[in-house]
Amino acid sequence: MNVSTWRMRSIGWIASLLVCAGLVMVLAFRVNALRSQVHQSDMKIVALKQETIYLETEFETRANQQQLKAWNDVEFGYVAPTAAQYLDTERQLAAYAKPAEPGAPSPVRVASADDAVAAAAAFPAMVSPLTGKPVDADSAPAGTPAAATGASAKRASVADAGDAPAARGHAGAAVVAAAGLAGLGDRLSTVRHADGTTATIKKPVTKKSDSAASHTRAALALAKKHGGTTTADAKTRAHAKADAGAQASNRHTAKLHPALAQAGHGAMAHKPAGAPVITLALRDAKPEK
């Protein structure tokens, strides 16, 4: 029994030793196999690099100075730029720009990043610093300077600056601004107008289904502030706009409102808008004289 135990133990030791040796062998072989793979890859890289050099040289030979010159003489006819083709400063470049004349073709618009997403990121929802709850629009007195972020103020003033050169009435400006507000949704709370006054609209952050009503309120608040004979007209149009805005919201489209888009683009480009979408927005927002 004793002998058997001793033997069993030694057999066990030997077996484990063999297993370990086998594993070491396997590991060593694997390592080596990998190493030779690396080596092979190295050789492949070298071969490819040599191929690259070969092709590069061939390219440079086929496109050498004399060959390029021959092609230029026959095909392209490029000549060295003259002094008049160089600009020294941005000022010189700007001197070439001129405002678009009446009847000029509309500028080409290209697809751009989704402005509403940027707007949502730039203007967080207004919450009360005390309660941490959304601020009620009606509770804040209109006309006081809002604690809006610099970015939002700038945004609004850009929107208005676009309207100012268009020589619209104050009420018109208000409506456009209001419509722009509606388009921006519930986020925008402060609008600075061309005449320097600042309107603040504070309202709760509403759900999508409520946005129509809030848009109307915002538009009305602005229109009322500027008064004038066009108020009623503006009101109806603002209603229509707000409805459109609501529909847009319901469709979960996050596009910048056409009116604001018009105002903003106008401010930057100083050019009348011509795209169909913009024309629609103008017709909606502009008061009849």
Binding site: M25, N32, R35, H39, E60, Q65, L68, A83, Y86
Partner: protein, 578 residues
């Protein structure tokens, strides 16, 4: 083996004996089995050892070998922007192996005449008779050192197994003949010849540095433009040759150095080719009127000319039985700016005379006109330098560029010193860090240099260099059309053989580059309006080169900027001359 035991006898002893036999047989069998087992064990161990050897040691640490394969046998030469100008390239060569079809019998399938004819059709420049002789000779030899892949395919299509195209690493110049005189070539023994290949031979073949390319100061694009415009000028005027240099005035770097007609360094038969002669740095010429600004600068520097309004007689000058003429009659007198604009030999000679032989000589020595040009190239021509003290007549002729013959490179380096504020720096073909440019030595005062810049600009605006006035580049320069002296001092008999040079710098309000263009014996042609002088052939070359290279070299044309010459314009009555 044990002998078979007897069975007869006592049964007890027999049994014992039998047991003994059995024992022994068993032992024998065991021993045999042991041998077999040992044999198997040996083979197994050997097999394992081999497996182990293969598994553990085969792919040793030859990691570096892979990287070594990318190191070229000769380092690359690049231009200043890293564009390769010379590199090792595994090109095909055409090798005749007569034993390809076995040691016995004919080496070729077709007759040698047919093969030679076919080869000449593929390679028109191959000599038929030599090729035929080689094919008939039956010794393995190169038929051609370099073969293009297309050509190799054509040779393959001939179906001759004896024509082999082994790939060999050879020196290759992707830009062909571009900057051939700067680069040189590599001979079959693997050593560089002629240009930087010869100068850098040790560096390029050094095992430690082979992997890093050597950057020259040359800009391949500027070099291409220079060669292109020079060759156009050469063709238009039926000139024998041309040379052109673009030099950085602040560092002495040579941006372009061209000598035409050029050669293709990719060809192997260049050893005795006449085209390898470098006109820009090896051939000396009397460069004529382009020397006048040197005289005026030396005179202003020495205080000999203090007032540019002083007028000098412009009547032919008789001295030691020799009369100094001008190309045209410019009236009774000229002042210094007019003398330069009209290129008056008479007035310059008078100023040189006033300056004196010693000072004239010293100013030329200061510009390095008495020694080989300072450049790395082995091809450097020694000037024809009048020895000893200069007599009065010699001083006068040197003042307008005769009696002293230098290379166009001397002229370029001298003009760099004229316009860069008066500092002479040696020319170099190595790329130089602007922060570590050689200090150089002062040759002219800065005020003199500023004055010369105005005068050179005036020559281009109002004088003989009008055709070099590229809009916006503020080019300034001086024409020179010198009659070539005959061989053996036979004088200037051949009035039609002239050296036409235009030495220019741009932009003149802050000079960055000197541009020299020279034509050897240009003829009067329709394209030069029937004129042979520099105003009509080399000035237009510079006028075309500058707009092509300026923007690439960082000089932006500007029509609103120029060097102020308002204090000189009242002194000048416009007109032409040479």
């Amino acid at each position: 083996m044990v002998a078979a035991p007897g069975i007869s006898g006592a049964s007890g002893g027999g049994r014992l004996h039998l047991a003994n036999v059995r024992e022994r047989s068993l032992l024998t069998a065991k021993i045999r089995v042991l041998w077999v087992v040992l044999g198997f064990a040996f083979f197994t161990l050997t097999a394992f050892a081999r497996i182990g050897q293969l598994g553990l040691g085969a792919a040793g640490a030859d990691h570096g070998a892979a990287a070594d394969a990318l190191v070229p046998p000769r380092a690359e030469i690049t231009d200043r922007n890293g564009m390769p100008l010379a590199r090792a390239f595994p090109a095909y060569s055409l090798w005749f192996n007569p034993r390809a079809l076995g040691a016995k019998g004919q080496p070729l399938v077709k007759t040698p005449e047919e093969v030679a004819n076919a080869l000449v059709q593929i390679f028109p420049d191959l000599d038929h008779d030599t090729t035929l002789a080689r094919l008939k000779d039956g010794n393995p030899t190169y038929l051609r050192r370099r073969v293009l892949p297309e050509e190799a395919n054509k040779v393959h299509a001939l179906g001759e197994p004896a024509l082999e195209f082994p790939r060999e690493s050879q020196r290759f110049y992707p830009q062909g003949s571009l900057a051939a005189h700067v680069l040189g070539y590599v001979e079959e023994d693997g050593h560089g010849k002629l240009g930087m290949e010869q100068v850098l031979d040790a560096r390029l073949t050094n095992v430690a540095h082979r992997a890093e390319p050597v950057a020259l100061s040359i800009d391949a694009r500027a070099q291409g433009a220079m060669e292109d415009e020079l060759s156009r000028g050469m063709l238009e005027t039926h000139a024998k040759g041309a040379a052109g240099i673009i030099l950085d005035v602040e560092t002495g770097e040579i941006i372009a150095l061209a000598s035409l007609p050029s050669f293709d360094p990719n060809r192997g038969d260049l050893a005795r080719n006449a085209l390898v002669f470098n006109r820009a740095s090896n051939q000396v010429y009397e460069l004529g009127s382009t020397f006048k600004p040197f005289t005026i600068a030396a005179a202003i520097d020495a205080g000999v000319v203090t007032d540019l309004a002083v007028r000098y007689s412009a009547k032919p000058l008789k001295i030691d039985g020799f009369t100094i003429h001008d190309s045209h009659d410019f009236g009774a007198s000229l002042n210094v700016p007019e003398a330069l604009i009209h290129s008056s030999n008479i007035v310059t000679a008078q100023i040189g005379d006033k300056l004196g032989g010693q000072k004239m000589r010293d100013s030329m020595i200061a510009l390095g006109m008495n020694a080989r040009p300072t450049i790395e190239l082995p091809a450097r021509g020694f000037p024809i330098w009048p020895k000893g003290e200069w007599p009065r007549l010699r001083t006068m002729t040197v003042s307008y560029g005769h009696g002293l013959a230098v290379t166009p490179l001397h002229l370029a380096v001298g003009y760099a010193a004229l316009v860069n504020g008066g500092i002479w720096r040696p020319a170099t073909l190595y790329k130089v860090d602007p922060a570590h440019a050689p200090a150089g030595r002062r040759v002219y005062q800065p005020a003199t240099s500023a004055r010369i810049r105005q005068l050179l600009r005036l020559i281009v605006v109002d004088g003989t260099g009008k055709k070099a006035d590229s809009s916006g580049f503020r080019v300034g320069g001086k024409t020179g059309s010198a009659e070539k002296a005959g061989s053996n001092g036979s004088g200037y008999r051949n009035k039609k053989a002239i050296i036409s040079t235009f030495a220019a710098a741009f932009p003149m309000d802050h000079p960055r580059y000197v541009v020299i263009a020279m034509l050897d014996e240009p003829q009067a042609t329709q394209s030069t309006s029937g004129q042979r002088t520099a105003a009509w052939n080399t000035a237009p070359i510079v006028g075309r080169v500058v707009p092509r290279v300026g923007p690439m070299l960082g000089v932006v044309p500007d029509g609103h900027r120029d060097v102020d010459v308002s204090d000189l314009t009242p002194l000048v009555a416009n007109g032409d001359g040479e």
